[in-house]
């Protein structure tokens, strides 16, 4: 495949966006879905072709394509350029592959929603920006994609824009991301100041060419980048937007807020690993942030009752794992986990969407239960995903999570063992809350009432927008009535097919990274070696030979035990003795703190939002707004009004008045001409 075709990979979804965004309103639903699927599918096919090209023997390790100069001023130059290496390739595969599956799923999931064309237009827009983000060859173009996916995310979170909570969640996501973007921007400014360019290849080449560069401004750039990544990838302290983002439709949560966009931060850190490798401090901070986020979010996830919120906190927690992987310079492990996580978390979300669909919009796990028999396909696919995320071999999550834990353990840093312990504990907790979800949803008594279903259909309320909504979105029920007439139901095949494909991937996707200790070849690591090979310097990377395979096996066994422990606990509390935990925790203060998400939202509200609000109200509003802004505006208005009152008199509509002014004006002109000509003489 010629590099020129790279342009088409993002442009095809953009075309889909243009078509659906402009004329989609007038197209029938089938046509809208067809357009969206066609362009996404074409893009995925191009990526597949690209894979074939790049995997072929003797293929170059990277290829790139550049436009004519994009921005070119003295001292700074950047091209509009795309480049592909093995890291990009994995990201492209995940984005287009999972993206296409989720598009397919959405065709069924959104079938009865108003604004169908809008949804697919946004989804295609997201694909476009995400592909720009991963293909970008410079920080600047990456930033374009970065902001673009933020925009698409905002639009899709607020998809049910008539619902207050949804539009607020969209705004929250946008504002919190701004904080991160602020860091990213500053990092770019620093990069320009020190390297005079933003192109990855030249920045990294300059760093590589100067072995003496360490710390200093590199740490500053790296830390600012981490701030950006923390915003996009929902890490402490900027994770608060992601749980609220679950207000969006479930396919959106699966695609944007689990599989692709939120991993952009990890991708960015991995992409700029050359920079991070030179700054051990920044790396340690990344690792600590990751570990802290992982356990923190897992704690909150254990007590959530909304099925999507559990998954959201689980996503935050897993992203924390990836951050930790990046932090211990195990970039390929992080990317590996990114990939497997995309598979199983997308699957989890889609399966949860299927459950919600079956219950006509119900998201509260307390009123689910016993769904195993009613929606068997969903149940089985979900089961695979739960085992994958909990880290049971041979499912995908086991290998990637284990690789991160192992690399953390082997990290040359006093913190290594502590972080490993945190990771292990998080693994146990992950297992616990995932099985809790599993048991609560699929086992036990059927706690839902059939009328949830009837409710959804009889008064023509939207299906997925939650029940408390005041939306007036008229669902098209003529076709839907037939399939939905009977209570709880399995989803249509178009939703189940992506589930099955993802289930296969979640099951076997980890096999590309079987470590040598378990008799595999860790192919993904070798595949990514060309990208991260530059990393090969002493202080950060664990030397594989140094740590024995037996240790690796031992660690793997420990983490499986941890997962089993979580499973046992969940089994005990939610299957055998349901209610015990509830009784224990009912009046425990700790439970309340955790259930309220450690009051972080409240803390932010009082520590940041309130002071800002007071400052705005008293200082800005009274002094700046009333005094300076309104004052000047009022003065301007006064002058304008006075002036127009004066000139309005001139516009009397009487031709003789006009002639009078004309004569006066001519006299003035003549006077000036006379004076100047006499003067010049």
């Amino acid at each position: 495949m010629s590099p020129q075709y790279l342009w088409f990979i993002p442009l095809l979804p953009f075309l889909g966006f243009l078509v659906n965004g402009t004329v989609g309103r007038r197209l029938p639903r089938a046509a809208v879905a067809g357009v969206a699927l066609l362009f996404t599918g074409l893009s995925a096919a191009l990526v597949a072709w690209l894979w074939a090209t790049m995997k072929a023997a003797g293929a170059p390790l990277s290829m790139s394509v550049a436009s004519r100069p994009w921005i070119s001023v003295p001292g700074f130059h950047v091209d509009f350029a795309f480049s592909v290496d093995h890291l990009t390739l994995i990201m492209l595969g995940v984005v287009t592959g999972v993206g296409f599956l989720i598009h397919l799923y959405s065709v069924g999931y959104m079938a009865h929603e108003e604004g169908y064309w809008r949804f697919f237009a946004y989804l295609n827009l997201f694909m476009f920006f995400m592909l720009v983000l991963v293909l970008a060859e410079s920080f600047l173009l990456l930033f374009v994609g970065w902001e673009g996916v933020g925009l698409a995310s905002y639009l899709l979170i607020g998809f049910y824009f008539t619902k207050d909570s949804a539009s607020n969640a969209g705004k929250k996501a946008f504002v919190v991301n701004r904080i991160g973007d602020f860091g990213f921007l500053l990092a770019m400014f620093l990069t320009i100041a020190h390297f005079g360019t933003l192109s990855f290849s030249s920045v990294f080449a300059q760093i590589t060419a100067q072995p003496e560069l360490h710390g200093g401004f590199l740490t500053a750039i790296a830390l600012l980048l981490v701030l950006g990544a923390a915003g996009k990838s929902a890490q402490i302290p900027l994770y608060v937007w992601l749980p609220d983002a679950m207000e969006g439709p479930t396919p959106v949560s699966a695609l944007i807020h689990a599989a692709t966009m939120v991993t952009a931060g990890i991708y960015m850190v991995a992409r700029s690993h050359v920079l991070f490798d030179r700054s051990p401090l920044a790396l340690s901070i990344v690792a600590v942030i990751g570990a802290a986020t992982a356990i923190f979010a897992a704690c909150i996830g254990m007590v959530q009752n909304d099925i999507k919120r559990v998954l959201a906190y689980s996503t935050v927690s897993q992203l924390g794992y990836m951050f930790m992987g990046c932090g211990v310079a195990a970039y390929s492990a992080a990317v590996f986990h990114l990939m497997t996580h995309a598979f199983f978390k997308a699957l989890l979300f889609l399966a949860a969407g299927s459950v919600i669909h079956a219950l006509s919009g119900e998201q509260d796990m307390r009123v689910m239960g016993g769904l195993r028999k009613r929606i068997p396909v969903t149940f089985w696919t979900m089961t695979i995903a739960v085992f994958a995320i909990a880290g049971f071999p041979p499912f995908a999550g086991f290998f990637s999570k284990d690789e991160i834990l192992y690399q953390t353990f082997a990290w040359h840093n006093p913190l290594a063992k502590l972080l490993w312990a945190v990771g292990l504990l998080t693994a146990a907790m992950t297992s616990f809350y995932m099985f809790r979800l599993w048991y609560k949803t699929f086992f036990g008594a059927e706690r839902f009432s059939e009328h949830t279903d009837a409710h959804g259909h009889n008064d023509h309320a939207p299906i997925h927008a939650r029940k408390d909504t005041t939306l007036v979105m008229e669902a098209e029920h003529d076709s839907g009535q037939a399939t939905h007439a009977h209570g709880v139901h399995e989803s249509p095949w178009i939703m189940l097919a992506p589930l099955c494909v993802l289930a296969v991937l979640a099951a076997v996707g980890g096999w590309v990274g079987i470590p040598e200790a378990l008799g595999g070849h860790n192919e993904i690591q070798h595949f990514l070696d060309p990208v991260f090979a530059v990393t090969a310097h002493a202080e950060n990377v664990a030397n594989v030979d140094e740590v024995s395979h037996s240790l690796e096996l031992g660690l793997a066994a420990v983490s499986v035990l941890a997962a089993l422990f979580g499973l046992f606990l969940a089994d005990f509390f939610y299957r055998r003795k349901p209610g015990t935990l509830g009784a224990m925790s009912a009046n425990s203060g700790l439970y309340r703190v955790v259930a309220n998400k450690f009051y972080v939202d409240e803390l932010y509200h009082f520590a940041i939002v309130k002071p800002l609000e007071y400052g705005s109200r008293f200082l800005l509003e009274n002094v700046v707004e009333r005094g300076v802004v309104s004052g000047s505006a009022r003065a301007l208005a006064f002058i304008t009004r006075g002036g127009s009152n004066l000139t309005q008199r001139m516009q009397s509509g009487n031709i003789r008045s006009y002639a009078g002014w004309l004569a006066a004006g001519a006299a003035v002109v003549l006077f000036i001409m006379a004076v100047t000509s006499l003067h010049l003489r």
Partner: protein
């Protein structure tokens, strides 16, 4: 001799213009404008523009003014009413006019020497007539603008017909 001629017709001219200003019936104004144009024709002639003098009489005093008089009669325009529609015309306009007149007069008097003198019958040169000169330039150098004016006149005729036509 020329000065006498000039003064006679200049006075006639200004008197006609002032009469135009002070007469209240438009037909009187039109007739005094004819006087102004005829006197101007004489002044053109004293400046050696024989062709223009003739054209002035034929086109202006003849065709255009006849058109005016026709319209006055067609619309049966009576005496002018003294309405007060515009103060600006007096406040800004009259001082403006006075200023223009004063400035122009001052400038011309100031530059009188540089402007030179006019001699009676002093045509451009004495070998050819004024009409020969004009027609040579008009039909060689300025042929295109000359032809374009014919189109202009055609358009004006059509426009006048369309505008003045009664609504069907």
């Amino acid at each position: 001799m020329q000065l006498v001629l000039f003064l006679i017709f200049a006075v006639l001219c200004v008197a006609g213009a002032l009469n135009l200003l002070f007469q209240r019936h438009p037909i009187n104004s039109a007739l005094s404008l004819v006087v102004v144009m005829m006197s101007l024709a004489v002044i053109y002639w004293t400046l050696g523009a024989e062709f223009l003098a003739a054209a002035q009489v034929i086109v202006y005093a003849g065709a255009v003014m006849v058109l005016f008089v026709f319209v006055v009669m067609l619309l049966n325009a009576g005496e002018e009413e003294r309405t007060t529609g515009s103060r600006a015309a007096y406040i800004a306009g009259i001082p403006g006019v006075a200023a223009i007149l004063a400035l122009l007069t001052y400038m011309f008097m100031h530059e009188r020497a540089a402007l030179g003198y006019a001699t009676l019958g002093g045509s451009l040169n004495h070998t050819t007539s004024n009409i020969t000169e004009i027609s040579r330039v008009l039909f060689t150098e300025l042929l295109l603008p000359f032809e374009v004016t014919s189109i202009l006149i055609l358009v004006a005729i059509l426009g006048a017909v369309v505008l003045a036509r009664k609504e069907q």
